[in-house]
């Protein structure tokens, strides 16, 4: 028998976040993150498997045999860089895996995964050398390069075209327990699932649960497309991050930090799923915000909904500032609340709810 109470106490959510964002897992290269997730979920799930594209599928059996099954998907990949060219003097040219604002890259440190990992700095031209037509223009990715400090001969022994580079950034503790770093998009979502799994140790649930750490979301929700097909769940919830508030933001585009989980409504979302989530939040006194998305959301939910014969889908998010930068900033209490919300939602699932969903 596992000492579940002990495990719950041993690692807190803050530690979990600190650890998981510091593991590099660029889209298509998520193995190390998957290993961490597999290990940290193992006390709470019944079985674990990895599919053809690397999606990690963690299964927790429900108490009733013919109860519905639900997929919780959070993506474990992060945006990163990939080497396209080695210059004569050993500098590396690169392109991105996922969407960067190129203006955030100059002066950024990276870890280049050659046969051995090496540090690099994203170098750039001093502005006094800008040509007239470059003045007043932001830098382009093709004019940036990674500088490892090594000459070409040494670089080529270790690094090749196609080597991955991950953004290098530690965990930055801020006021009010808030924290910043890279890859909170969507490791915060993984942490929500972890929190949910931990909550469910003491909450009974009929439904069969699939926690899926998906791959390649940042390059087109590719992991969700195949994992949903493979699992063929009755319901799906994507767990991701949404834009947090910051100075100069349009109010309707952002959700404030520290005010709980965010539930999205819109065509990508089954209205009764969203409704049930809001009701669950109210019933258990969990702060919950509403976000609107007018089309397919930019999350795994867009893939899940149109898998197979169509899957009732919802999206639960954690507000995050400065998305797709190395200083993504979250309030961990929002993660905790989102985890609880999912746990209570899962606990309330039964056949009759499923039937409601299919009659619109």
């Amino acid at each position: 028998m596992l000492d579940e109470g002990g495990l719950l106490k041993k690692v807190n959510l803050h530690d979990y976040l600190r650890k998981i964002i510091q593991i590099d897992g660029v889209s298509g290269y998520e193995d190390n993150v998957a290993a961490f997730i597999s290990e940290t979920f193992s006390p709470y799930v019944d079985s674990t498997r990895t599919d053809n594209l690397g999606n990690l599928i963690l299964y927790k059996r429900g108490s009733k045999k013919d109860a519905p099954s639900i997929l919780f998907a959070a993506h474990m990949d992060e945006i990163g860089l990939i080497v396209t060219k080695i210059e004569d003097n050993g500098f590396l040219r690169f392109t991105s895996l996922g969407g960067f604002d190129v203006r955030t890259l100059p002066g950024q440190e990276v870890t280049v995964y050659g046969q051995k990992p090496v540090n690099g700095i994203i170098g750039f031209k001093p502005s006094y050398l800008d040509l007239d037509e470059e003045k007043g223009q932001s830098v382009e990715m093709k004019n940036l390069f990674i500088d490892t400090g090594f000459p070409r001969e040494q670089v080529e022994k270790n690094i090749r075209i196609g080597s991955i580079a991950a953004i290098k950034r530690g965990f930055l503790p801020l006021l009010n327990n808030r924290c910043a770093g890279k890859a909170f998009d969507d490791r915060a979502g993984i942490a929500v699932l972890w929190q949910c799994a931990r909550e469910l140790v003491r909450i009974e649930h009929e439904a069969h649960l699939y926690f899926v750490a998906t791959v390649q979301e940042e390059v087109g929700t590719r992991g969700a497309i195949v994992s949903t097909y493979g699992i063929s769940p009755d319901l799906g919830i994507a767990v991701d991050v949404c834009h947090g508030d910051f100075p100069g933001a349009m109010e309707h585009e952002v959700s404030p930090l520290g005010e709980g989980a965010v539930v999205t409504v819109g065509p990508n979302i089954h209205p009764l799923m969203a409704k049930r989530l809001f009701e669950t939040a109210e019933e258990y006194n969990l702060p919950c915000q509403r976000d609107v998305s007018p089309g397919p959301t930019g999350t795994d939910a867009r893939a899940i909904q149109i898998s197979l014969e169509g899957i009732p889908t919802a999206l639960v998010s954690v507000p995050l500032r400065y998305m797709h930068t190395s200083v993504e900033l979250i309030a961990p209490e929002d993660v905790k609340i989102a985890g609880r919300l999912l746990a209570y939602f899962a606990a309330g699932l039964n056949r009759s709810f499923l039937e409601e969903l299919s009659c619109l």
Binding site: R103, T104, G107, G170, P173, L174, L175, A180, L329
Partner: protein
């Protein structure tokens, strides 16, 4: 390693106290007499082994680094800021910083790419579009730990891996480290080593320091930009990593005194050490201020080449720095042995 230790310390121009304290502690432990002036310049009196052999030589290195200064605290708890010195603002975006004397952690946020219009992305971000986020809930919350006027420095881990040194503020902690390295050695003659303040905002510390010392000869230990990158043409490289320390012939503030420059070349050649000439004519160094102090000083500059100066992480090679130390060492001995007619 001295360079990386020094690199980690916040010390924006006008706020050099923690760098100064670190150096003072070293000087005290080595039994080197030192004092400070009202601006914060730190003077170390290196006693020669041969009594009374005053060389009239001043060596200097600036302690300060470029950074930011909090200009206001917004309602939301975000901090607006000014630049201190020539910070390359393109490298500020999404970098972590330390705010104020208690090193409050903050990040310089940027609007998520998803929320930007295509046109927006093509324009560089200006300093007035940026702010620091320390995680505060609102203005009052922020003002519990920071205030307007707090200095802000980059937060980045210094590191040494093989020959490669990286970190913030290598300009000019590499120079400070070299000067400390020199001060640990024995010399026949006495000289003054000055760790100056406020170089990055107009060589302001050096002006008064040189006036106080009135040296006959001065050698400034600096760190200079290496632009040996693929985006720059050969003629724009200024200096290259691995080609040895760079001697300045001319920059915006000084034409190096020919006798000093000749002697640097002579000792470097004699020791068979690699060196290069700085090939960019712009930007200023303390040598400019020192050369004009009192009735004039014969001044020169020797620099470690360094990529990405004035950005959160810069990079230099230990061998270049080591060569700078050895050439400086030989220069001091040569000035004693052969004198230096101006």
């Amino acid at each position: 390693m001295l360079i990386t230790e020094l690199s980690q310390i916040p010390g924006v121009s006008g706020d050099e106290s923690r760098v100064r304290d670190f150096i003072k502690e070293k000087l005290s432990s080595w039994g080197i007499e030192h004092y400070t002036d009202s601006l914060g310049n730190l003077f170390a009196l290196k006693e020669g082994k041969k009594n009374g052999s005053e060389s009239g030589l001043m060596l200097s290195a600036h302690m300060d680094e470029v950074g930011l200064l909090v200009s206001s605290v917004e309602k939301s708890g975000h901090l607006r800021f000014y630049k201190v010195g020539g910070v390359d603002e393109r490298a500020l975006i999404t970098k972590p910083v330390l705010v104020g004397p208690n090193d409050v952690m903050g990040v310089i946020g940027a609007k998520a790419i998803h929320l930007q219009k295509k046109e927006e992305r093509k324009k560089p971000l200006k300093i007035e579009n940026l702010c620091i986020d320390i995680g505060a809930k609102d203005k009052d919350d922020a003002e519990r730990v920071v205030k307007v006027g707090d200095y802000v420095s980059f937060y980045s881990e210094a590191g040494l891996s093989g020959n490669i040194v990286k970190g913030k503020a290598l300009d000019n902690r590499a120079g400070c480290a070299a000067l400390l390295e020199i001060l640990q050695r024995d010399y026949p003659c006495s000289f003054t080593a000055v760790f100056t303040v406020q170089e990055e905002v107009g060589l302001r510390g050096a002006i008064v320091a040189a006036y106080r010392i009135k040296p006959r000869i001065a050698l400034v230990l600096e760190t200079t930009g290496a632009i040996d990158i693929p985006e720059a043409k050969n003629q724009d490289h200024s200096t290259s990593l691995g080609a040895g320390p760079a001697f300045t012939v001319k920059d915006q503030s000084i034409i190096a005194h020919p006798r000093v420059l000749e002697r640097l070349i002579e000792v470097a050649e004699r020791q068979k050490r690699t060196y290069q000439f700085r090939r960019y004519g712009g930007s200023s160094t303390d040598a400019g201020a020192i050369s004009l102090a009192g009735s004039g000083t014969a001044a020169g500059v020797i620099s470690t080449p360094c990529r990405y100066i004035h950005a959160p992480v810069s990079m230099l090679l230990k061998e270049d720095w080591q060569n700078l130390v050895e050439i400086t060492d030989a220069f001091i001995r040569s000035v004693y042995e052969k004198g230096l007619e101006i």
